[in-house]
């Protein structure tokens, strides 16, 4: 929104102050200023002058040779404007003056010297009209510098609309002036109003508010005999500077009042609209707005009708049929407050936002309706003396906001601010902002002004903001808190996830990636993975991203495929959230998971798989001090290899799976590569109790290692089972079992285990261990391990 400092100056005297500095500080106390634009600084030496004679240029079709009286002298001007006319008053830029980039000097044009330039409105920056030179119709002495009669000099500032969402009162120059008055501790002046009580004896306007739930107030008044067509120059300049275009006097007038006071107004041609109903249409209808667009009105959109004929979309835009035309002389003036939510929904559904609807959305103060009408009538009286009010100010005030009174004390303010702000400052600030303050010692009672009471200020914490923003946050002394220091807790899952990242990055040189919470069914299709049905996003940007992910792996596989050019061998992982359907209560069963994919070209699949196995085992060993159990299992997902898929278990409980890829999926990634994946629920992982480190005194006597080689089907061995069997058979002297070697040839395989024996009391001899090793061999036979001959 653009605001004019001249306009604000109508209501607060800012003389003697640095207005640009005030605007810059406005950002710190009220709302964000995005830009400051100085108007008129590139215009000088432009005076009111009169064309005495017009001659066509002998050789040019466009150019005219003029004699122009600039008050003190008649000068020759060469001018190309089509609308030059003898007797016309114009804005003449005189020699030595400046218009925009042009410095005026005697200049030869097609053989004739021009001693100045007649300016268009666009050249002077006061409108975008460049069709011809500006004709001045006001009665002004020739030679008068136009800047002394017209407000060309101004400072315009732009405020970020978003920073005003909760301040309906600031969508107006008057509201802004109140802020400046408070900030500068100067007086706020009332705008000139025309008291409408004097019209009470005139006949009322017929108003019937049917949809009382969507309307706070609907007021109207009728005026006739309006003759003025074009707005005063200064009004047009202000409108233009603030981003609006002059249309005609009546339209400009309603815009002007809206920009000045914040109240949208609508002028209907009284010849076409002489009574009002406010209602919705259960069946909807088609309606052409004054911009000529036909729109679909649905059953929830509030409409203004006249004799049940729709004439406007309430709070948004008037209708084409009832709009003010150039020949309109009588009008029905609407000043109303509609429900902000309803207006916002209507604009969203129509895809049509207007200056009026933007203001209604913010919840306008219904008290403004009458003030705005009185302001408009006062301006009308000033600029179109013949205009006559022909109805009473008719007011259907169907809903009122309650008056809000808040009480608080000095201690409350101190607690919130942490600094000392005096009672006097509190009272002065709030009073200046329009709050009615009663102070009794350290206790305050304030009545919230109507323009802040529609939603903005409702509780005493809101008062704190008013006091502190005007006090200035830059003026705050800052202190640390006096809260006691307590031990810092960190959730187990969080620290586990952090340690997983460290291990995978540092020890396994993996790369951490991030993706999305939804499956990408298009990428899954390319990989030959069926996207599992799951909880769905109902407004996904593309249908491919509808289902939430159950597993992290498919996205990681797609990443691997996209990164093939990165290297021959790399591993990636992601720790994030997945959803495993719904819980009993209907909420998503959100599960945090670690997904890992190892990729290699030129390494055997088994070797890649075993690296993955090592990584899983290290996570459990490092973080939980526990061993992983791997158990062959059915596949959970279609991308897993039917043979080489294993559950990852800790303390007998499944926490995830490890697998190579289904050959179909693998080939879709790369025909010559090996991939292994694993996935762990970090929540289940974090739920596992960490094993305490148990210290056992090392034996002072040497251990004896005995290697035994068995023939066996290596794939069928479950190592943990083997160890416990061996320990049962050999007794307590067997301290450790390690796999030493696997040897495969001629279709049979052999595996060597190293059995370590130690006693805490004496040195063992090989001979005395013979019974133990024999027992081990016997015990392992049922597991498919036969002593190799």
């Amino acid at each position: 929104m653009f605001l004019s400092m001249n306009w604000i100056g109508d209501f607060v005297d800012l003389s003697g102050l640095d207005r640009k500095a005030l605007i810059r500080n406005f950002t710190l106390s009220t709302a964000e200023v995005e830009d400051i634009i100085e108007k008129g600084c590139d215009i000088s030496g432009v005076v009111v002058a009169k064309i005495l004679s017009v001659e066509n240029h002998p050789e040019s079709k466009k150019l005219h040779l003029l004699k122009v009286d600039k008050g003190d002298e008649v000068v020759d001007i060469v001018c190309g404007a089509p609308n030059v006319r003898e007797g016309m008053k114009v804005a003449l830029a005189t020699v030595g003056g400046r218009v925009g980039e042009i410095t005026i000097a005697p200049r030869k044009l097609a053989g004739y010297t021009s001693y100045g330039m007649c300016c268009s409105e666009a050249e002077l920056g006061i409108s975008d009209d460049n069709s011809g030179i500006w004709e001045i119709t006001d009665d002004i002495a020739l030679g008068t510098d136009i800047k002394t009669v017209y407000d060309i000099d101004d400072i315009i500032f732009e405020v970020d609309n978003k920073s005003l969402t909760n301040r309906p009162d600031l969508w107006s120059h008057y509201g802004m002036a109140r802020e400046f008055a408070t900030l500068t501790q100067r007086e706020l002046k009332c705008p000139a109003l025309l008291d409408t009580k004097q019209f009470d004896s005139l006949p009322p306007v017929a108003i019937d508010v049917k949809a009382t739930d969507l309307v706070y107030r609907y007021s109207a008044i009728k005026v006739e005999n309006i003759t003025r067509k074009i707005s005063p120059v200064n009004m047009r300049i202000r409108l233009f500077y603030c981003g609006s275009r002059a249309i005609n006097f009546l339209a400009d007038l309603t815009n002007y009042v809206m920009m000045e006071l914040g109240q949208p107004m609508h002028a209907f041609d009284n010849a076409k609209v002489d009574k009002i109903e406010v209602q919705t249409f259960p069946k909807g209808l088609k309606f052409t707005t004054l911009d000529g667009v036909e729109r679909n009105i649905d059953d929830k959109m509030l409409m203004i009708t006249s004799g049940d004929v729709p004439v406007a979309i309430a709070g948004v835009m008037g209708g084409d049929a009832s709009k003010i035309e150039d020949d309109t002389t009588s009008l029905l003036l609407e000043s109303a407050t509609f429900d902000g939510v309803s207006v916002r929904k209507t604009t969203t559904r129509l895809g049509l936002r207007t200056d009026a609807s933007q203001r209604y959305e913010k919840m306008l103060d219904p008290e403004l309706c009458r003030t705005a009408t009185e302001r408009l009538l006062s301006l009308l009286e000033q600029y179109d003396k013949g205009a006559t009010v022909i109805s009473a100010f008719t007011d259907a005030y169907v809903n009122r906001y309650p008056e809000i009174t808040l009480t608080f004390d000095k201690k409350y303010v101190d607690r919130y601010t942490g600094i000392e702000i005096s009672n006097e400052t509190i009272v002065r600030t709030l009073t200046s902002l329009g709050f009615a303050v009663t102070a009794c010692g350290d206790d305050f009672t304030v009545v919230v002004p109507s323009w802040r009471a529609t939603k903005d200020v409702t509780i005493k914490a809101d008062i704190i903001e008013e006091i502190t923003r005007i006090y200035g946050y830059d003026n705050f002394e800052i202190f640390t808190s006096s809260s006691p220091l307590l031990p810092v807790r960190k959730e187990v899952i969080k620290s586990d996830e952090d340690r997983m990242k460290d291990i995978l990055v540092k020890s396994y040189r993996m790369h951490e990636v991030h993706s999305y919470i939804w499956s990408d069914s298009k990428k899954n299709d390319e990989l030959g993975i069926k996207t599992p049905e799951n909880v769905k996003v109902i407004n996904a940007q593309t249908p491919d991203h509808s289902y939430l992910r159950v597993s992290m792996i498919p996205t990681l596989l797609a990443f691997v495929k996209e990164n093939k050019a990165y290297g021959d061998s790399f591993s990636i992982f992601e720790i994030g959230h997945t959803v495993e359907g719904l819980k009993e209560n209907g909420e998503c069963n959100e599960v945090n998971k670690l997904g890992v994919v190892l990729y290699s070209r030129g390494e055997s699949e088994e070797s890649v798989f075993l690296r993955a196995r090592d990584a899983v085992a290290e996570l459990a060993a490092d973080i939980l001090h526990k061993n992983i159990e791997f158990a062959s299992s059915e596949c959970d997902y279609d991308f897993e290899h039917p043979v080489n898929s294993f559950d990852i278990r800790i303390d007998g409980k499944k926490v995830g799976f490890i697998s190579t890829l289904h050959p179909t999926v693998l080939e879709n990634i790369d025909k010559k590569c090996a991939v292994a994946v694993f996935e762990i629920s970090t929540q289940l992982f974090a739920d596992v109790a960490v094993a305490n480190t148990k210290y056992s005194e090392p034996s002072k006597f040497p251990a004896i290692d005995i290697d035994i080689t068995f023939t066996a089907d290596v794939g069928a061995i479950v190592f943990d089972e083997l160890v416990s069997c061996a320990k049962n058979a050999a007794g307590e002297l067997l301290s450790d079992v390690k796999m030493k070697d696997i040897y495969t040839a001629d279709g049979s395989s052999a595996v060597t285990f190293r059995f370590s024996f130690v006693s805490s009391e004496r040195t063992l001899t090989k001979q005395e261990l013979t019974p133990a090793t024999e027992a081990i061999c016997k015990a392992l036979e049922p597991l498919g391990l036969t002593l190799k001959a």
């Binding site: 509780i459 502190t468 830059d474 951490e512 919470i517 407004n539 209907g586």
Partner: protein, 340 residues
């Protein structure tokens, strides 16, 4: 005796000169100093000597001479061998190596850890929270009224079970307040979702870090202190902060916090849109309605909350121009982030 010693001396010098290896030196030592060596033989002959004392002295001198000579020759030989080893050593080249693959952290992890560390050092707990929440957690408990634009379909991803993807980390405030009660100081990083089309500056999936501090006398002054301290640590300089009024339904008063632009030093440049300030984090005093919903006594406690854009912070910190790089899985981009 004396003659014998002289004779042995001469032959020793000759033998020593000829001994060129550790083995021959050892043989020489055994020949002279061994149990059956010449020195032992001389010692045996001592009992027949006329002047035992003088003879003994001569033998001892000879023995010492032999010992020293052998030790010296051994040392010289070793020195020569070491020198030969050095001369013959292979020169290594540390500048040539096959590129070893290092792992990498996601830049968001690094940015998160850095901020977490700062807050942990100031006594803040780190909390983990869901990404999928309900309307109550995301909006209602945060004083965002039913008709607020933030709830519109165009901003929020809704799920077919009625829940939604959280649009801000503030959605965890209620649960954390209920979990710990007051006093409380906690930060909770998390992934957030907004239904908007993506471009270099916009992502539908991004990270924020929320923080809260609640106690009996938490004030605006405290808020400014903690924000300034945290940001000075993050940016490794004494940042200037300024608060501007900002409207967020879950805080009152609410602020936009700016820091002075480092690039131009506050003079104004394209990075800060010529204002000299960078908008960094919305914050404010927690709205009494929000505290109340979290089961906290609003007459006794006040608190502040802030939301830091972690994704934005990581972009600033590492000079990432396109926000979409973060979720691209592109290792050429992501493998550059080794550690903080």
């Amino acid at each position: 005796m004396q003659n014998r010693i002289e004779e042995l001396k001469r032959s020793f010098v000759t033998s020593l000169g000829a001994a060129g290896s550790a083995e021959s030196l050892e043989a020489l030592r055994v020949e002279y100093l061994g149990k059956k060596g010449y020195v032992a033989e001389l010692m045996k002959g001592l009992k027949d000597a006329s002047d035992k004392k003088a003879a003994g002295q001569l033998i001892n001198e000879f023995k010492t001479e032999v010992e020293d000579s052998i030790a010296k020759a051994t040392e010289e030989l070793r020195a020569a061998q070491i020198a030969a080893k050095i001369r013959g050593a292979k020169k290594y080249n540390p500048t040539l190596r096959a590129e070893a693959e290092f792992g990498s952290y996601h830049p968001i992890t690094l940015a998160t850890r850095e901020v977490e560390e700062i807050f942990v050092s100031m006594g803040f707990t780190i909390e983990n929270y869901f990404e999928i929440v309900d309307d109550y957690k995301c909006f209602e408990a945060l004083n965002i009224p039913k008709h607020h634009p933030a709830r519109d379909m165009q901003d929020t991803y809704y799920l077919d079970n009625g829940q939604l993807l959280k649009t801000h980390t503030s959605a965890a405030q209620n649960a954390i307040m209920k979990k710990y009660g007051a006093p409380l100081r906690a930060i909770f990083p998390g992934r957030c979702f907004r239904n908007e089309s993506t471009d270099a500056c916009h992502e539908n999936t991004f990270f924020q870090m929320e923080g809260m501090m609640i106690d009996e006398n938490i004030s605006i002054s405290n808020l400014i202190y903690f924000m300034k301290t945290m940001l000075s640590e993050v940016f490794k300089r004494d940042v200037k902060v300024r608060l501007r009024p900002g409207f967020f339904p879950f805080v009152e008063p609410g602020f936009e916090l700016d820091i002075n632009c480092e690039i131009c030093g506050g003079e104004g440049c394209p990075s800060c849109k010529n204002s000299g300030w960078l908008e960094l984090c919305p914050c404010g005093m927690i709205h009494p309605n929000v505290l109340r919903e979290g089961g906290i006594d609003t007459e006794k406690y006040t608190g502040f909350a802030f939301g830091l854009g972690l994704t934005r912070l990581a972009m600033m910190k590492y000079g990432v121009k396109d926000i979409r790089d973060f979720n691209s899985g592109n290792l050429k981009a992501l493998s550059q982030f080794k550690s903080i």
